[in-house]
C-alpha cells in the first residue's frame, strides 16, 4: 500500500516538474517574420534609442554627452529582490553583445530571452518593448551597432532565493507577460498624435514601468487597471507621481505644459524635475518636438483617476 502511495506521489511530482518545465520553456519569435537587418536605419534608430531610455540603465552613472553612448552597464539597481546590474550591451564581441544577431536582439527586446535560451529579468522592461514595431527595433539595432565598444564586463546580479532561479521567470511571464497590443483603447477618431503618443508611452518609453503600480504586492506585472496612476518609488523612498489627467494627477496641466516639462524639466509652477525622472526627461528632450506633443496628447486622454492606489 505504502509502495503504491509513494509511486503515485513520485509520478505526480514528476508530472508536476515536467509541467513546470514545459510551461517555463522560453518562447522565441518567429525569425522568418522579422525584417532584414540590412534595412535598419541607424539615424532613425537614434531617436528610438532616446525614446527607449537605454542609456539610463546601461551607460555609466551621471554620464553626460557622448559618454551616454558607452553602454558598458550602469549603476547597480537596488530592489526588494536584490541588486540588478544592467549588462554591457555595447557592440564589444566579448564583454558586450557584438556577437548577437538581429534575431537575438529582437528576442531579448520582445520576449525577454537571451541568445542562449535563458529568461531575462523583467527589470529589463521587455513587457513594454514587446509593443515596439519591428521596424523600430531594426533601426535601433542598426544604431546600436555604431556605438563604441566597451571592454568591461558588468557584474552579475546579486539576488536572493527564489528570485535567483531564472526558470522561475518563466512562471512570472506566464502570469504577467504583456502582448503587442495597446493597453489603453483610444476612440476610433483618435488623432495621429494620440496614437503616436500611446506607442511612445506604452512601448519604447516604458513610462508605465514606474508610473503604474504592480500586481502581487509589487512583484508582479503592471496593474493596467491603475495605468499611470502613480506607484511606490522602486528606487526607495518617496512616490512616482500619478500622471493621469485627474486632480490627483496632472489634470491641471495643458498639453503644452506637458510638452514643455518634457523639453525643459519645468512644471507649470516652475518646480523642477527631480530624482530618476531627470534622466528620463533629458532623454525625451532629444526627441523631435512632435513626439513630445504626441506624448502630451496621449496623457490628456488616458483614463483620469485616483489618488494613491489602495488608499
Amino acid at each position: 500500500m505504502l509502495d503504491r502511495i509513494l509511486t503515485v506521489l513520485f509520478v505526480v511530482i514528476l508530472l508536476g516538474a515536467g509541467l513546470v518545465y514545459g510551461l517555463t520553456i522560453p518562447d522565441r519569435l518567429n525569425a522568418a517574420a522579422l525584417p532584414d537587418p540590412a534595412m535598419g536605419d541607424a539615424a532613425r534608430g537614434e531617436t528610438v534609442f532616446w525614446a527607449g531610455g537605454c542609456a539610463s540603465c546601461h551607460a555609466p552613472s551621471k554620464a553626460e554627452g557622448d559618454d551616454k553612448l558607452k553602454l558598458g552597464g550602469g549603476d547597480p539597481i537596488r530592489s526588494d529582490f536584490g541588486t540588478f546590474h544592467a549588462p554591457n550591451i555595447s557592440p564589444d564581441p566579448d564583454a558586450g553583445i557584438g556577437q548577437w544577431s538581429f534575431v537575438d536582439f529582437a528576442n531579448a527586446m520582445k520576449r525577454g530571452v537571451s541568445p542562449d535560451g535563458k529568461h531575462l529579468y523583467p527589470a529589463f522592461p521587455y513587457t513594454s518593448y514587446v509593443k515596439m514595431t519591428d521596424g523600430d527595433l531594426n533601426d535601433l539595432w542598426a544604431f546600436m551597432r555604431t556605438l563604441p565598444k566597451v571592454a568591461t564586463t558588468a557584474p552579475a546580479n546579486d539576488l536572493a532565493f527564489p528570485f535567483n532561479v531564472r526558470r522561475g521567470i518563466g512562471l512570472w511571464k506566464l502570469a504577467f507577460m504583456d502582448g503587442p497590443g495597446p493597453i489603453i483603447a483610444l476612440p476610433e477618431d483618435a488623432s495621429e498624435a494620440q496614437k503616436r503618443g500611446r506607442y511612445l508611452v506604452e512601448g519604447p518609453g516604458h513610462c508605465g514601468q514606474c508610473h503604474t503600480p504592480r500586481l502581487l504586492y509589487g512583484a508582479g506585472g503592471l496593474d493596467d487597471a491603475h495605468w499611470l496612476q502613480g506607484a511606490p518609488n522602486p528606487d526607495g523612498e518617496g512616490r512616482i507621481p500619478n500622471i493621469t489627467p485627474s486632480e490627483a494627477g496632472i489634470g491641471s496641466w495643458s498639453a503644452s505644459d506637458i510638452a514643455y516639462y518634457l523639453e525643459s524639466g519645468f512644471t507649470p509652477d516652475f518646480d523642477s524635475v527631480g530624482g530618476s525622472m531627470v534622466d528620463v526627461q533629458e532623454n525625451i528632450a532629444r526627441l523631435p518636438a512632435a513626439d513630445r506633443e504626441a506624448i502630451a496628447a496621449y496623457l490628456k486622454v488616458v483614463p483620469a483617476a485616483g489618488g494613491r492606489p489602495g488608499e
Partner: protein, 154 residues
C-alpha cells in the same frame, strides 16, 4: 521600602517628562524644515517669473530679470543654513538623506547655484535672448540638485 518606591516613581516620572519634552526636539527641527520650505517656495516664485519671461508669456524687462536673479542668489546664499542634523524627517520634508550622507556634494551643488546666480546678476542681460541664456544656465541647477537631493512625496 516606601521611600525607595516613591524615589523610583519620581525618577520614572521625571525621566518620562524629560523624554516627553526632549523627544520632539531630538526627532525633528520643524523650524528649520519650515524655513527651508519657505525659501524654496520663494525660489519657485522667482523661477516662475523668470520662466514666464523666457517663454514669452510676459514681457522681458531688464529690471525684472535682475530681480529674479537677485532673489535666487539671496536664497542660494541662505538655503544651506537650514539643514541641521535634527531636521532629516518631519514636516513633510522632501529633503533626501543624501544631503546628510554626502555633505560635500550637497555643498558643491549649493556653491554652484550661488556662483551661477551671481554670474547671471553680473551679466545683467538687457535683451530676451541673453536673458534666456542666463536663465537657462541658472535653471539647470534646479534639476541637477533635485536629481539627488530631493525625494518626491506627493
Amino acid at each position: 521600602m516606601s521611600d525607595m518606591r516613591s524615589l523610583t516613581l519620581i525618577s520614572a516620572l521625571t525621566l518620562g517628562c524629560a523624554t516627553l519634552v526632549a523627544l520632539p526636539a531630538i526627532a525633528q527641527n520643524l523650524d528649520a524644515i519650515e524655513k527651508r520650505q519657505e525659501l524654496m517656495k520663494e525660489n519657485g516664485k522667482a523661477a516662475k517669473a523668470g520662466g514666464a519671461m523666457a517663454k514669452g508669456e510676459t514681457e522681458f524687462s531688464a529690471e525684472k530679470a535682475n530681480e529674479v536673479f537677485t532673489s535666487m542668489h539671496e536664497i542660494a546664499m541662505d538655503f544651506g543654513n537650514h539643514f541641521p542634523e535634527d531636521s532629516k524627517t518631519g514636516g513633510k520634508t522632501e529633503a533626501a538623506p543624501a544631503i546628510w550622507e554626502k555633505p560635500d556634494a550637497f555643498q558643491a551643488a549649493l556653491v554652484k547655484y550661488q556662483n551661477d546666480t551671481q554670474a547671471a546678476i553680473d551679466a545683467a542681460p538687457q535683451d530676451l535672448a541673453s536673458f534666456r541664456q542666463q536663465f537657462g544656465m541658472v535653471a539647470q541647477n534646479c534639476k541637477s540638485c533635485h536629481e539627488e537631493f530631493r525625494i518626491d512625496k506627493d
